[in-house]
Amino acid sequence: MRLRRLVARGFRNLADLDRELPPGGVALLGANAQGKTNLLEAVYYPVLFRSLRGAPDQEVARFEGPGFTVEAEVEAGPTATVAASYAAAGRRKRISVDGEEPARLADAVGAWLAVSFLPDDVALATGNAAVRRAYLDRLLALADRRYLRALSHYRAALAQRNSALRQGRSEVASAFDAPLAQAGAEIVAARERWTGEAAERFTAEFECLGEGAGTRLHYRCGEGLGQAESWRPALAEAMARDLARGMTSVGPHRDDLVLELGGKPLREFGSNGQQRAAAVALKLIELASLRAARGTEPALLLDDVFAAFDRDRQARLARRLLAGPERQVFLTAPRADELPPGLDLPVWRVENGRVIA
């Protein structure tokens, strides 16, 4: 899958742009605070219709501006044009695929596929479980729309149930057990299935990045929660505690994707290099999983990732990340000499929000 043309207006500090993109991608070079990451953010926006940095839309809109528009002309077999615009007045967002507004946002998700790797993504290895759950959710939602539906059902049921718990109404809270169990079991089952397939690949990628053997990836969740039937007893058992705390303590919103090295949590015992390699490995698996699920190669967005590695690791990383003639790559670096060796991409300069090809 390739981005053929990108239109961005009113987006962050970027001057309005409408550009064709090279099939292999581009290297974006420029000094700090010029807009390189902002441009990656614009490229990624039509993937999930939100900022890849997790910023709310009003922050993505240019300061004092009326809002923004992003349009991605995507080539994936037939061409699709995925567009999103946000109006600051009324805080309204409009989404369209080939000019038509889908009934639900979920129906537009995945028409354009990309995987981003930002400096902060090392938190996949060093951060708390919420970071890894977000990783799983994004990846599985893009792989299968049903997952996204289950996720939004789950969140809605959980919010209602927790609200009832805070009101001290256990009988009302339990009324939401059925939808919670149904959607929750779907989520847990999908995450377990994915982890089962990814575990071996994780170990292999980690080794391939030269950080040694003995890593393990597994999914930690409540016993049997991949089946809806297991939920009722689990929720009933936790009820007294949940009432006291005013929140549901059972379910995939509490789970973790555990990374281990030699039987110990990588988060606590891994070296910086190992943690960074684990994050890279997860990103590579995200790419491979999406490719397998969707039958097309997602674009890869790399924001300033090479700087953190030594020359030797850079070369290894570049081989893994940039492999494949099908892959369109967008990467940023402050200067040309910080690009990995052997990289063969057209260079665009980003200066004060302007793109100079």
């Binding site: 009324g90 129906d107 729309r145 049903r146 539906r149 289950a150 059902h153 809605a156 049921a157 919010a159 209602q160 149930r161 609200s163 009832a164 009101q167 109404r169 009988e171 009302v172 809270a173 009324a175 939401f176 059925a178 939808p179 149904q182 959607a183 779907e186």
Partner: protein, 196 residues
């Protein structure tokens, strides 16, 4: 506040009407002959003065009880439970149902502060206990909250001597199986029907 401003503010409170639309409606009304606005105003006053929930079923009516509850041809053994009075008109217009209704006045939603006590559940139990009702058809909306409300009522009526049914849930017309969510698909599978 000016009269114009007051009207815009009131209109903008209505569902689906933003400030822009409210302004448009206001200026449209101002361009009409004054009788037009007068008719609208008196219709509004009449509605708010005369229309009340039916004491039996909760449907909106000008007389007590409502026309449906009074109609002797309606089967008192069948009770269709809906969330809002607007659903009574919809079900009655588009189906062959000729029983009676019971309007809950909402659905369970703790986030909106709507618990069982905010719904007309006691009157429902009282009607069922009255003995005439044989079947309660739960016709709450096919949303998560609607489902939950239906389940809650089903449990509430469990001890009583009444048949409780739920509107079938299935695949939407004009859909693509691949994009149907798991919950709907699971329901449709459970509620599958013999075709031969």
């Amino acid at each position: 506040m000016s009269a114009i401003e007051a009207l815009i503010t009131e209109l903008a409170r209505l569902p689906g009407i933003g400030r822009k639309t409210a302004q448009r409606l206001t200026f449209h009304l101002l361009q009409q002959p004054p009788e037009q606005a007068g008719r609208l105003a008196s219709a509004l006053v009449a509605v708010s003065e005369r229309v009340r929930p039916c004491e039996q079923c909760g449907n909106l009516t000008e007389e007590q009880p409502c026309a449906i509850c009074r109609d002797p041809r309606r089967d008192p053994a069948l009770l269709c439970v809906v969330e809002d009075a607007s659903a009574v008109a919809v079900v009655d217009r588009s189906t062959d149902f000729r029983g009676r209704y019971h309007v809950l006045g909402g659905r369970l939603s703790p986030l909106d502060g709507i618990g069982p006590e905010s719904l007309r559940l006691d009157p429902l139990v009282a009607r069922v206990r009255g003995g005439e009702v044989r079947e309660v058809i739960l016709a709450t909306n096919p949303s998560m909250e609607g489902e939950v409300t239906a389940t809650y009522i089903q449990q509430l009526l469990a001890g009583l001597n009444v048949r409780v049914t739920r509107l079938a849930r299935g695949l939407p017309m004009g859909g693509d199986l691949e994009y149907v969510d798991g919950v709907t698909l699971a329901h449709a599978l459970v509620a599958r029907q013999e075709v031969s």
